[in-house]
Symmetry: C2
Subunit: 503 residues, 2 copies
């Protein structure tokens, strides 16, 4: 009886999962393939598919099935598909059913319409043209928050969408720790005055060859992955066997390469989920913070490590003999780890990155709280860039317009980037302990041990457990701890810049 | 009251139109972008979206709205959006509601799963591996036919899906005319013995440049169209402003170029539909035959015309100076109009093409009627190729496995290709009468007059009228008349091969 009800729930959730992945293709295509004049109708299609998925999920039928299965689910093994599916669906249902389908659809339509406006505004350094759609997105986000009961701070509501159970005040505490312990690192490095200006040329054709060689060594395969250029890189896909990462190229630095490694990390998480979870709401990463821990891990802990470059630097030098004349791997390693406050978040180094996030975290709370007129946002942005990073912002294209998120209505998303950095270091301490010859493998171009460790301990489970439960399983505590990240940073910067090593 | 009901109907149909176009993106992506291992989950997604669209359309709510609006609709201007929408929706509803949603979903899932099997089978000349999925598709198609009352022949049911109101016996009568009047042309040409063998090399890079120049002259614009390579070319898109055509390339002939012009014709039809019809079931071509009349028109009546090549041959020769050394435009014109029985339908010349269709038309009826064991299909194919075209088929890759249609479950589709050829000539006689300097324009690279004529007389209306009504509006008769096509062919071949001119 309960098994039959579970099967019915599963069938209904499978249909919804198909719609969610279909929406994900509509979104991928919109950003990667769609001719620009398709934007209007695409907004309708995204809204419709999102609305139907939402209506189907929040239907009384699904709600009743979940209610009827709650006790049965609790009697199943906690780790089992059955128990996990009922548990997670129940929690999702409770949240989703609080939001009217029409509001969801309007949020999705508004986001789709805002995207091309943002693309143009960014291109033309024209914040004014972006303002109305930003305002609309924010108003919708406030209406969204109003659907919920606020225990503590309104920002908790949006944060929880991306990082379940995370509270604004916890993030603030973590960020305060970073202000105290990470920000000084940047000053210590600056005091060494060792950064050499460099003026490189990296023609794109070789970049494309090189980054494919790198991600293929990492685990990208042509039969289950795609890599395409786009304006603002992201990872997406339609299933465990169809993973799509995107990138962009610059001809004066290799930021695109690190971006590609970053998106690979996201893609691998989705690709290594237990296939038994496909077509269920469990078939995705547990939270954005944990997702970001994977992208930052491949980008930074792997892609900016000395062992990685011992393997790949000779090849890079072969592709760019002139640009990299006079370089050895150590000099290159120092360069890709150069700490220097800069304008663009996605190009920021490991030591300054979190400061970009803290700025956005504070601005988002201020915008939701109407703490200043929205016209003033560029000024607020620019003054904080000066305060936190000592940087003067020349125009909005490289300032407040640089990120796609607000155009997509995503508020509460940014903090997960910094949390991901912190989690990546927490995980890394465990991985290095479990796989002692990890770095030797990197030097041989061997990344399977890392991939396998991640699959077994993290990816495989998909979204069966909460972020806290997941973290507890992997590192023994459910709390995000900023100390390992700061430790990792100080150690690296000690070796490169000669600042004081961790005590 | 009725207006409110109409608005509700329209909202519901808009949601369904969004789903239909979303399915169209899932399909385009499947054939053009998807990594191969995505096939399994894509089949589920296509089935789900198709099923939901079908369920929503065949719902009692939509049925009731249509019933309540029928009289009101008939009081509106026949050409109006209101009258047309109610009329077309009523007819679609009647057909669609006869087919269970689960059967629809199974057909769509089965087609999606069969596609990669067909791709492999074709690649490996392995009909046996294709047989089980073909059988499954055919069984589902028979179950589909069983959902309807058969007045005359079972094949009428599938034919009607692609060419509304068309009857098998009418097609047979038209095809008999072609056997009598078109087939002899091929023999007359063969008797002249003028074909020279040629062995060309057309490196792909220049083809890509040239075909873009051609379709851009025709009306392709980067802001609303895409052109991508695929295995079996088709036209698709997600809306009037997002048109996607696909092509493939060969390095020993320019078949890909003509294929691209063909798909352009399909794309232009969808692109020139009245924007007021967007997000309604009227926002597409009226039937496959009329659609094919557009693709064949741009491929053949434009793309294989002497005035077209007077404009474009110099450029082609510039791109291929070695390959086309010693050619002038007249020799090239004769070559692209060379009549010679050949293996591949999509590469067949204008004089033999319809014979490929007659073969498929007969085989489809035989397969639905179980007239031979399906294992025998390659033999049946090969013996008819010999009978109709005098050609011996060396393997199934270039024989029974050449076309995508049966892998997609499309039966009853092929005849519309031949009907399209015939309609294109019917339309052309009218266009040439209305636009006397049409050919002079082609020589100047001017295709707007043709585009505009087609928009005004055909494309603009979308699916407001039946194929018969549409044809009657444009050429004064609702009947497909094969005579203009045979006349056109005989005239062209008289000028090229010196066979007897039309009397």
């Amino acid at each position: 009886m309960s098994q039959a009800k579970f099967d019915e729930l599963r069938t209904r959730l499978a249909e919804i999962a198909d719609l969610v992945k279909t929406a994900s293709l509509l979104g991928w295509d919109q950003h990667v393939m769609m001719p620009p004049r398709g934007a209007q109708i695409r907004a309708e299609q995204l809204a419709t598919v999102g609305r139907i998925a939402h209506q189907k999920f929040t239907s009384a039928e699904v709600g009743n099935l979940i209610d009827e299965l709650r006790d049965w689910g609790e009697q199943q093994e906690y780790d089992s598909l059955e128990a996990s599916l009922v548990r997670v669906a129940a929690r999702d249902w409770e949240k989703a059913s609080k939001v009217p389908a029409e509001l969801r659809a309007e949020m999705s339509r508004s986001a789709a319409l805002a995207n091309p406006v943002w693309v143009e505004a960014r291109k033309n350094n024209d914040f004014k043209s972006f303002l109305p759609v930003l305002r609309k997105n924010l108003d919708l986000r406030k209406r969204y928050i109003d659907c919920f009961e606020i225990d503590d701070e309104p920002y908790d509501i949006v944060l929880d969408d991306y990082e379940r159970d995370m509270k604004t005040k916890s993030v603030r505490r973590i960020f305060d720790y970073l202000k105290e312990h990470q920000a000084p690192l940047v000053k210590e490095v600056a005091a060494r005055g060792q950064n050499e200006p460099h003026d490189h040329v990296f023609p794109l054709e070789q970049q494309k060859i090189f980054e494919l060689e790198v991600v293929r060594a990492f685990g990208f395969t042509d039969d289950a992955w795609r890599l395409d250029p786009t304006v603002h890189p992201f990872a997406s896909g339609t299933g465990i066997e169809d993973i799509r990462i995107t990138t962009r190229y610059f001809d004066d630095h290799l930021g695109g390469l690190f971006g590609t490694m970053h998106e690979f990390g996201h893609g691998l998480y989705e690709h290594q989920i237990d296939p038994a979870l496909e077509r269920t709401p469990l078939a995705r990463g547990v939270s954005l913070g944990l997702h970001e821990s994977q992208s930052r891990m491949w980008e930074n802990l792997v892609g900016r490590s000395l062992p990685f470059w011992r393997r790949f630097f000779p090849r890079l030098q072969e592709l760019y003999p002139d640009t990299l004349a006079g370089y050895d791997v150590d000099r290159w390693y120092r360069e890709v780890n150069m700490v220097e406050p800069s304008l663009i978040r996605v190009e920021a180094d490991e030591a300054t990155y979190n400061l970009h996030i803290i700025l956005r975290f504070e601005l988002e709370q201020a915008m939701l709280g109407d703490e200043f007129p929205l016209e003033q946002l560029p000024d607020e942005w620019n003054s904080r860039m000066w305060e936190y990073l000592g940087i003067s912002v020349p125009d909005d294209t490289v300032g407040v317009l640089q990120d796609v998120h607000w155009s997509g209505g995503s508020v509460g998303y940014f903090p997960t980037y910094a949390l991901g950095n912190l989690i990546s270091a927490q995980l890394w301490e465990r991985i290095v302990a479990d796989v002692p010859d990890l770095y030797d493998g990197f030097e041989q171009g061997e990344f399977a041990p890392l991939r396998d460790w991640l699959r077994e301990h993290l990816h495989h489970h998909g979204r069966k457990f909460t972020p806290g439960e997941t973290l507890e399983r992997v590192v023994g505590t459910s709390e995000i701890d900023p100390a390992p990240y700061v430790r990792y940073l100080r150690e690296k910067l000690a070796s490169i810049y000669g600042i004081a090593a961790p005590s």
